[in-house]
């Protein structure tokens, strides 16, 4: 693989990862927390109606997990494509 091809492959892998993570980001906050919140409120988590929980708690926890997963996954990709820093 030439350096150019390798870089293009790295970038494609990065974009694929972004697409997956941003889909989760959207579904959890805008989906569960807003658009689907009312039907989800039929379920509950302790005293929390589920849609309300996603809007005021759950989405925040999800965001944190997403970023750390991304940071970990990108480090793996960096090494795989030999573009990692020392």
């Amino acid at each position: 693989m030439t350096q150019e091809e390798s870089r293009a492959a790295y970038w494609r892998a990065n974009l694929r990862l972004l697409a997956i993570l941003l889909t989760i980001w959207f579904v959890v906050s805008f989906g569960f927390g807003i658009l689907l919140s009312q039907p989800l409120n039929a379920f509950s988590l302790g005293g929390y109606p589920l849609g309300f929980w996603f809007a005021q708690q759950g989405s925040i926890y999800t965001f944190i997990i997403l970023i750390f997963f991304y940071a970990w996954r990108m480090n793996v990709l960096d090494r795989k494509f030999d573009v990692h820093e020392e």
Binding site: F30, G47, F52, Q56, I64, I67, A71
Partner: protein
């Protein structure tokens, strides 16, 4: 010891810490002044970013807005945290790789144009100054609270402190101070929340308490709150009320995109040593922010619950059910002095009623059956709820003093970060970058300090007559960042084909459309009384609240930039190469 003295001691003590740190780490070179010499550990940087980011809007204002909005207040919670995902995934690592001091510098280089850089500086100034207005209101409220004076007097005191504080340090001083401020802020926010959660639900964690049952009962707190509110003619706390679903969606998105385009937060990622630290640093920042943001909804709901039960301790409609004016608690007296809490005994029964008078059916019924002549709280400023919360719950004085110190820390740290962004964009981007390339370091620093002073005066004036509650004003600033800077930064990295012409037109279209929409409803340059239309839903275009319009501006920016770029010449070879290099942490050798 009385509350005032105690507040002075606690606030004074925290100030002594900040000043000590500022002196210890006094900036000596321009590089240290702007980005702390690029030598800050990712976890510490995350903590400082959190302090920088969590402003008076987060600390003082947000939970109060949530208290009165209920479920839809989640827009602020999701919007101000979800943006970090965009920042970490789409911007931070690449901008770190690019390795410049400021956001306009990146835009100027990527789009090979001084004009693009100037437009970016203008966008940055407009949004930063709007943001500082929101902070100034917060600073004013915090100071009027501890000094027990009117809002205006509190604001003047606050302006003086912010000025001295911001002019002193520069980024290095600020970074270390902000770590101290984060610790004080989070302690001040969570301690009263824990106390109140235990009082109400028997749970030490507010995040769990909010979903728990009332202490010693089987009723869930949120169910009890829903019922209490509905008994007084309000919508249920957990229902869609206060804003439409569309506006909740748009506001959330505008705050997210805006967060990712916020220059004073982005420059924090220039201060970490490596690209991979930039990725992780955003995660740490969100952890530290998340501690406050998952506590805030509990603070909001519990403050509302306590507030209503203070005003309405007995059954609704019972002539003895409401608080007697002569016996009203101390915290009311205290906030009446600032002018931010006002009441009027409309039916002259010597008691205070609080209910939803906009609900005509309920108001009519209450007039006939209970003899209520209107809700008697003529002013409850949302921004006092967090500061008043421990007083409403009857917590000890040292907790109340601590919250006051935390509120001041929040407002100061962000105001300082923003003023730094303002001063660096004027002195570094405009003067040194464009108009006076030969300016000496010393005069550059001086120019930066003078622009800080001017910004404080302007923002302070508007802080007295703000276009909304602190968190709402700050939301406007985010809309502006969403419409102008984020799309351009993102396209600069992800779309090689976007050229100078596209970027400039895009930024101008995004900024101008959003600014125009805001000014139409909030007044020209936010000066009170100069608005063209009343700021109510009937007049909004498609019912879109000005706080959420940044999303539309961002879409216009994307479309304009793409359209203009595709009909004009592609960016030169070396720029396309530059973009490719920004995309990898290290240029491979194999």
């Amino acid at each position: 010891m009385d509350l005032k003295t105690l507040s002075f001691i606690v606030v004074g003590f925290t100030f002594a810490i900040y000043i000590a740190i500022a002196i210890w780490a006094k900036a000596s070179t321009t590089s240290e002044f702007y980005v702390a010499g690029k030598g800050i550990h990712p976890t510490l940087n995350g903590m400082a970013t959190a302090a920088d980011w969590m402003s008076a809007a987060s600390f003082i204002s947000m939970a109060g807005l949530i208290a009165f909005l209920g479920f839809t207040g989640g827009a602020y919670l999701m919007g101000w945290t979800g943006g970090y995902v965009l920042m970490a995934l789409l911007l931070a690592p690449y901008l770190r790789k690019f390795g410049k001091f400021t956001v306009p510098e990146f835009i100027g280089d990527r789009f090979y144009s001084k004009t693009a850089r100037i437009v970016a500086v203008i966008s940055l100034l407009v949004m930063s100054i709007t943001y500082v207005i929101g902070q100034m209101r917060g600073v004013g409220i915090a100071f009027s609270n501890i000094l027990e004076v009117e809002l205006a007097t509190g604001l003047y005191a606050g302006m003086a402190v912010v000025f001295i504080y911001a002019v002193f340090g520069g980024m290095k001083g600020i970074t270390y101070t902000q770590i101290a401020q984060y610790v004080i802020m989070i302690f001040a926010y969570t301690v009263p929340a824990v106390f109140i959660a235990i009082q109400l639900t028997g749970q030490p964690f507010p995040q769990i308490g909010l979903g728990g049952t009332l202490a010693g009962e089987d009723t869930y707190l949120l169910d009890a709150l829903d019922k209490t509110l509905m008994d007084l003619g309000f919508a249920a706390y957990t229902s869609v009320a206060g804003m439409t679903m569309l506006n909740m969606f748009l506001l959330t998105l505008a705050l997210m995109i805006g967060t990712a385009g916020l220059p004073h937060v982005i420059i924090r990622f220039f201060t970490v040593p490596r690209v991979r630290d930039a990725r992780k640093s955003a995660g740490w920042a969100l952890v530290f922010i998340g501690i406050l943001y998952t506590t805030a909804p509990a603070v909001g709901a519990m403050a509302m619950y306590n507030f209503i039960n203070t005003v309405q301790p007995g059954p609704v409609g019972d002539p003895q059910g409401n608080v007697i004016i002569e016996e009203r608690p101390d915290w009311m007296l205290r906030w009446e002095r600032t002018g931010l809490l006002q009441w009027e005994d409309k039916n002259e029964d010597g008691r205070l009623q609080y209910y939803n008078e906009a609900n005509t059916e309920f108001a009519e019924m209450a007039r006939e059956e209970f003899g209520w002549e209107g809700s008697e709280f003529t002013r409850i400023d949302r921004d006092i709820m967090v500061l008043a919360n421990p007083q409403i719950a009857g917590l000890p004085n040292w907790v109340i003093a601590l919250v006051a110190a935390g509120g001041i820390a929040a407002a100061l740290s962000t105001a300082a970060g923003l003023l730094l962004a303002i001063s660096s964009s004027i002195s570094h981007d405009l003067l040194k970058g464009v108009f006076m390339p030969r300016i000496s370091e010393k005069r550059e620093l001086m120019a930066g300090r003078i622009s800080m002073g001017a910004a404080i005066l302007f923002a302070g004036y508007l802080g007295l007559n703000p276009p909304g509650f602190a968190a709402e004003v700050v939301a406007l600033a985010f809309g502006l960042a969403a419409a102008s800077l984020f799309p351009t930064l993102m396209m600069g990295i992800f779309f090689k084909r976007i050229n100078r012409e596209g970027a400039i037109v895009g930024m101008l279209v995004g900024l101008a459309s959003t600014l125009l929409y805001i000014f139409l409803f909030k007044g020209w340059f936010f000066f009170p009384g100069t608005n063209v239309f009343p700021d109510t839903a009937e007049y909004w275009l498609f019912g879109i609240n000005p706080t959420g319009f940044g999303v539309i501006g961002a879409i216009l920016n994307f479309v304009a930039a793409y359209a203009v770029s595709s009909i004009t010449k592609a960016p030169p070879e070396h720029i396309q190469k530059l973009v490719e290099e920004v995309r990898v942490p290290r240029v491979g050798t194999s």
